[in-house]
């Protein structure tokens, strides 16, 4: 409350300065939106047509065609395997990276920056972009998908794990060091037990995310259910595409249930 406000006999929620700030923010948002709308390359007739196009598309999806369900479920299982194997490898590989990227365990400043560089580059490139690269390297197929998911997951798991290592209680480490324990033993008996809960929580979370990501790998040729989806869409077989979409929906919901159950059991 400033002096000038005392003149008001009406209640207002904001002071004049706050109101001006709010208007400025609103104006900036409106400007940004206006700029985006006016300069984006969109054929507006298509925009007004979009609802009917979407309706038409969904109309052609009904009823879903289950004739290929056996093959779809088999590839769906393959998708689960891609996600699980990739998560397992990524989690193992992220342990040393987390150790490098945590300020209190990293051997030197140089290794700290190496660790951070690995985390940042892994994290800021999306799985699909990694997949593009690995499809070019390994050729279309499951290996590209597994490696792509691994590369993206290392950054995610490593970052959260590194933060957990930085937040540990230092006293067990000091106690072990005082007894003359080797570096490896300090890690095994003082650090690992403290980050175990985070480790499992992050692994389960990442598995859940990877399950979703692995469903789209096929769209760039990196294996999994996406290949069938792409095939169905390219041949305008919308009823089969609908079956695939329902299968993916089921998989994702099931994955969420399983990861919630695992979290309850382990943590």
């Amino acid at each position: 409350m400033t002096l000038s406000d005392l003149g008001h006999d009406d209640w207002t929620r904001f002071t004049l300065k706050q109101r001006l700030q709010r208007y400025a923010v609103f104006a900036a948002c409106a400007l940004a939106i206006g700029w985006a709308i006016s300069s984006i390359e969109v054929i507006w007739a298509w925009v007004w047509d979009a609802p009917s196009q979407m309706g038409d598309l969904f109309g052609r999806m009904i009823p879903p065609d289950p004739s290929n369900l056996g093959a779809i479920l088999r590839v769906l299982w393959e998708t689960v395997n891609i996600a699980t194997i990739a998560t397992a490898f990524a989690v193992i590989l992220s342990l040393p990276v987390a150790w490098l990227a945590a300020q209190n365990t990293t051997p030197s400043r140089a290794t700290l920056w190496i660790g951070r560089f690995i985390l940042v580059s892994s994290r800021s490139i999306n799985t699909i972009i990694w997949a593009l690269l690995f499809v070019a390297i390994f050729g279309p197929g499951i290996v590209a998908g597994i490696v792509a998911i691994m590369f993206r997951s290392i950054g995610f798991v490593g970052k959260l794990l590194g933060e957990a290592i930085e937040e540990i209680d230092k006293r067990p480490v000091e106690a072990l060091e005082a007894t003359g324990a080797s570096r490896l033993k300090v890690i095994a008996y003082a650090i690992v037990p403290q980050v175990m809960p985070t480790f499992w929580a992050v692994s389960i979370l990442r598995w859940d995310i990877n399950l979703r990501e692995s469903t789209v790998l096929g769209l760039v040729g990196a294996g999994g259910i996406g290949i069938i989806l792409q095939g169905a869409i390219d041949t305008f077989n919308w009823r089969e595409a609908a079956t695939v979409l329902l299968a993916i929906l089921g998989l994702v919901i099931l994955g969420e249930i399983v990861s919630a159950w695992l979290r309850r059991r382990i943590l």
Binding site: A36, Y189, L219
Partner: protein
């Protein structure tokens, strides 16, 4: 057991992660069996994978040094991504408010609640890339498909978080409004909205950042933005240009993450 002399326990062993030894070995054995069995059965062409090393050398050889020659194309793609992100955030946030109200158990009747939750679950379950290829088929290539995709993506996240916030509000204000005889809509606007607004602003900024990331990805399947530029560069084996694009994407993501983190911290 009692015949054995009581050994003095001078040796401490770390308690095992799974207390029951039988269950422990079953879990460990099962995990190893799963990994071996899956790796054996996944359709992996090892010969082709082995060629990958040499190809990786060629690709990275072609990628260095990154080429910024066609930076005009790069800037156009990036600005388009930014426009897509802004419009999708605007649309998604506006739409997510009514859906969040529908999905909050404490203010709507049960059937509406189930409908709201169902919308959120469907929007969240599908990876943006899958949503994008459907929109690309429905409304054609270009940024419009990207905007629509990211609107769905934003709804999945923002509406879910907002619904959770609405379920946590202080209900006293709602009761006060009801006691004063306010109609349903006024109750929502004056008693609920002020309580959720700070959260909504934070979510909006987070989502803008998140949409910018995602817009780089949905472009790969033809939904406009810098992702399309990247996919084209990859398709034409322009690895030096692709590396330049990737570097710009990473820099933009890091910058937007830092900015959005700063703003949210100050809210």
């Amino acid at each position: 057991m009692s015949t054995q002399p009581a050994m003095p326990r001078d040796h401490w062993r770390k308690p095992s992660f799974i207390a029951n030894p039988l269950l422990r070995w079953v879990v460990y054995g099962g995990a190893i069996f799963y990994v071996v069995w899956t790796l054996a059965w996944l359709p992996i062409d090892w010969v082709r994978v082995a060629e990958g090393v040499e190809r990786a050398g060629r690709i990275f050889g072609g990628a260095f040094p990154p080429s910024f020659e066609r930076s005009g194309l790069l800037i156009d793609g990036f600005l388009e991504s930014l426009k897509i992100a802004i419009l999708a955030t605007f649309g998604g946030v506006i739409l997510s408010i009514p859906i969040a109200f529908m999905a909050a158990r404490n203010i709507v009747p049960l059937p509406v609640f189930y409908l709201g939750r169902a919308i959120i679950i469907v929007a969240r379950s599908f990876h943006p890339v899958i949503v994008a290829i459907i929109f690309v088929k429905a409304v054609g290539f270009g940024p419009l498909a990207g905007v629509l995709t990211l609107i769905v993506y934003s709804i999945g996240f923002v509406a879910k978080m907002l619904a959770e916030r609405i379920e946590e509000i202080d209900f006293g204000q709602v009761e006060a409004m009801r006691a004063a005889g306010a109609p349903y809509l006024s109750t929502l606007i004056y008693a609920v909205v002020p309580q959720i607004m700070p959260r909504q602003v934070g979510l909006t900024i987070y989502q803008l950042d998140s949409n910018l990331r995602a817009s780089a990805v949905v472009g790969i399947v033809g939904a406009g933005g810098i992702g399309s530029t990247l996919a084209n560069a990859f398709g034409r084996y322009d690895y030096d240009f692709a590396l330049a694009i990737t570097m710009v994407i990473v820099a933009a993501i890091l910058l937007s993450e830092a900015v959005s983190g700063q703003i949210r911290k100050r809210l």
